[in-house]
Symmetry: C2
Subunit: 218 residues, 2 copies
Amino acid sequence: MKIAVLGTGMVGEALGTKLVQLGHHVTMGSRTPDNQKAAKWAKKNGINASQGTFSDAAAMSELVFACTKGEGTLDAIHSVGAAGLEEKVVVDVSNPLEFSPGMPPSLLICNTDSLGEQVQKAVPSAKVVKTLNTVNCEVMVDPTRASNPTMFICGNDSGAKAKVVTLLKSFGWEDIIDLGDIKTARGTEMLLPLWLSLMNVIGNADFGFKVVGRRKSE
Amino acid sequence: MKIAVLGTGMVGEALGTKLVQLGHHVTMGSRTPDNQKAAKWAKKNGINASQGTFSDAAAMSELVFACTKGEGTLDAIHSVGAAGLEEKVVVDVSNPLEFSPGMPPSLLICNTDSLGEQVQKAVPSAKVVKTLNTVNCEVMVDPTRASNPTMFICGNDSGAKAKVVTLLKSFGWEDIIDLGDIKTARGTEMLLPLWLSLMNVIGNADFGFKVVGRRKSE
């Protein structure tokens, strides 16, 4: 598949590299056409890896991962624009973390709204899927690092969610729960404060949440 | 131990009954001295079960469970008052759910504050411990119903948390993580939107969250 990864940070790099390894054609997008981190990543990852602006990357792809920091997600999406993402699957893996008041971060958006919903509102004709935001980027692409936790998936379009589930399974995810429409992204983003407390106590990020008990509707 | 259970709903009944079964002396507290549900519960549960006002219950006990609906927790705590709870362990198991705008409920307090913190501020000389609020009341007193999930515990006083851990173990909890001070209650209360989405998808409440992965600091 032709896939865009918007963002040159740890998350974009981890997802982009894994997707190339799985045989996909990946374009890493950034604000500028000459981003050095993106150029270095593309050079390192061979013929199926390229780079460009956010718009370039989206234009070349049928599926787009939004991997910027949460505070930059809407800017990245707006810079591509609704027309550039029309009918495309947009996988939002970011969290609306607010670091400025100091640690631990709070959320910029929560409770009665979510970043996932705001992305969907920004590009109504795109098919936004929220997932992977409840684990560290190394666990995103290798769930065995965290003993195979549960992954949640949220979005309004069943076909788009099915495509993303196929990708998640190719990363190694075995336990995936479809929570429902994009509104349910609130719950997954609101898991972050607990995740951050746990990282503080546990001392590493190789963990996740497994839903256990009587799961009769599986 | 002499224990108060503030609240006559499903949570108060489940906890009160389990505590009596474990040999504790339990007083169920309610707004009025002649609450019929509390009287019925006390009659059914034998010589170690009694009932009275919130203040009566707290006065007779060294440890107090706050089991009202989240919207009523601060009222119940205020009706006992700081003097009535001085140096006592107050276990807040409630969640600040806001049902009035319709389903699914949002939270009345979150992100930069929590109900746990507000209870601690209301009774500064009490030792507030937040726990059990991440599972249904039947799972609270029998974690095997949900295949032994992880239980979180938050609070400023180590001695109080140790007492509560002993009680949790007597309920059957095997995997308990101390998240830190009462501020970390934010994360456990903010788990509720995800819990509610899962209950909607799974179709029952016999589930919980197990922290899996590399938990080196255990």
